[in-house]
Amino acid sequence: MKDDYLWDKSGEPDPEIEQLENLLGGLRSRRTAKDLMPAVEKLSRKGARTFPKWLSVAAAVAFVLLALGVFNVIQRQSVKQFSDSQFVMLNPTSPEPPVEVAAPAGGSGETSQPESEKPLAAAAQNEKRTSLETRRRNIARKREAFLNRQEQTEGLMAKEQLLKALQITSSNLDIVQKQVQGDEKQGPSS
């Protein structure tokens, strides 16, 4: 049957189909796998040798994150040490002497003093109180100045850390970019 010839070349051959087969058969490809083998072998070698691109990028990103983490920890530790030492330098003595609380009039502490010395004692107490307040204010000012300096130091260190991280990131991205460009140059033209 002629339909079978068209389907699976069995049965009685159809002369028109045979003619078309003969005519169009000349359009078949004459290339073989051998023509492709150098490219295939190159591709196989490359596949065995290199990482996938996504793995390279992921490794670079992971490395940058790790570097940032390490820098962060180091920075925190150094800032803490620095601030502790600065605070000790600014306040070498014990923080403040205990403030004497003025006893109420007629208390037991004043009964021993003579009447003539009472105004002098009160003036001395006032003087002592004002000097204490001045000292407190000075300490507060120093503490404030120290905190400002601490903040500045932290800021500077953070800036340095950021710059270093950016340098590392850019160098890693350069490496990855070179790798990807290298892969593309070696890869097939598609």
Binding site: L23, L24, G25, G26, M37, G187
Partner: protein
């Protein structure tokens, strides 16, 4: 008649292609699938065998769509691309359908990228009378609906039988049979050949 039927066939064609891609794992591994596994393992001889088996299909799919002067280079490109992406193929039994899909997509990309140059290269290539006649017949085949032209080129140019076309492309044998007969009928009409019964 033919346009509507061909559209229906094309839909069937696309549906089948999807079926091939998402087919459930087949228990029996075909010889072609074991070749694919060997190629994955770096066996270049297996790649040579796979090329010999499937290059006519890829060549036919491209010849039905792009200028002949470009086809040979594109066939090689497609095999290199396939080799590069072979690890992404989940079901090795579906290699044929997968490769056919790469070839069809590559043909579409070709037209997106270089429509002007192909017109020139097709005209510039001077050939013998026999070759010119073959080109004329091929031009008529290329005007047929996609499903018909691909099947006819595989049958008449590449010399593949219907069952081979079905096996290599992952299409259903019934669809290939229908496409062959309908396509041949339209081709006879357009070439002015009266069918002898």
């Amino acid at each position: 008649m033919s346009e509507i039927e061909a559209t229906g066939d094309l839909l069937l064609f696309a549906g089948e292609r999807d079926k091939v891609a998402s087919a459930a794992p087949v228990t029996a591994i075909s010889p072609d699938a074991s070749l694919v596994e060997s190629v994955r393992g770096g066996d270049t001889d297996a790649f040579g065998k796979l090329y010999a088996l499937y290059s006519p299909m890829v060549h036919g799919i491209l010849l039905a769509r792009v200028p002949r002067s470009e086809v040979d280079d594109l066939v090689q490109d497609i095999f290199l691309v396939a080799l590069n992406r072979l690890n992404t193929l989940r079901d090795t039994n579906a290699f044929g359908g997968w490769l056919a899909m790469i070839a069809r997509n590559r043909a579409m990309d070709f037209y997106r990228q270089s429509r002007v140059t192909e017109e020139l290269s097709e005209e510039m290539a001077g050939r013998s009378f026999h070759d010119t006649e073959a080109r004329e017949v091929l031009a008529v085949i290329r005007q047929l609906p996609e499903a018909y032209r691909e099947t006819l080129v595989l049958r008449l140019v590449e010399g593949m039988t219907g069952p081979e076309i079905a096996e290599r492309t992952g299409l259903k044998a019934e669809s290939v049979r229908v496409n062959l007969h309908r396509g041949m009928k339209i081709l006879r009409e357009r070439l002015g050949i009266t069918e002898t019964v």
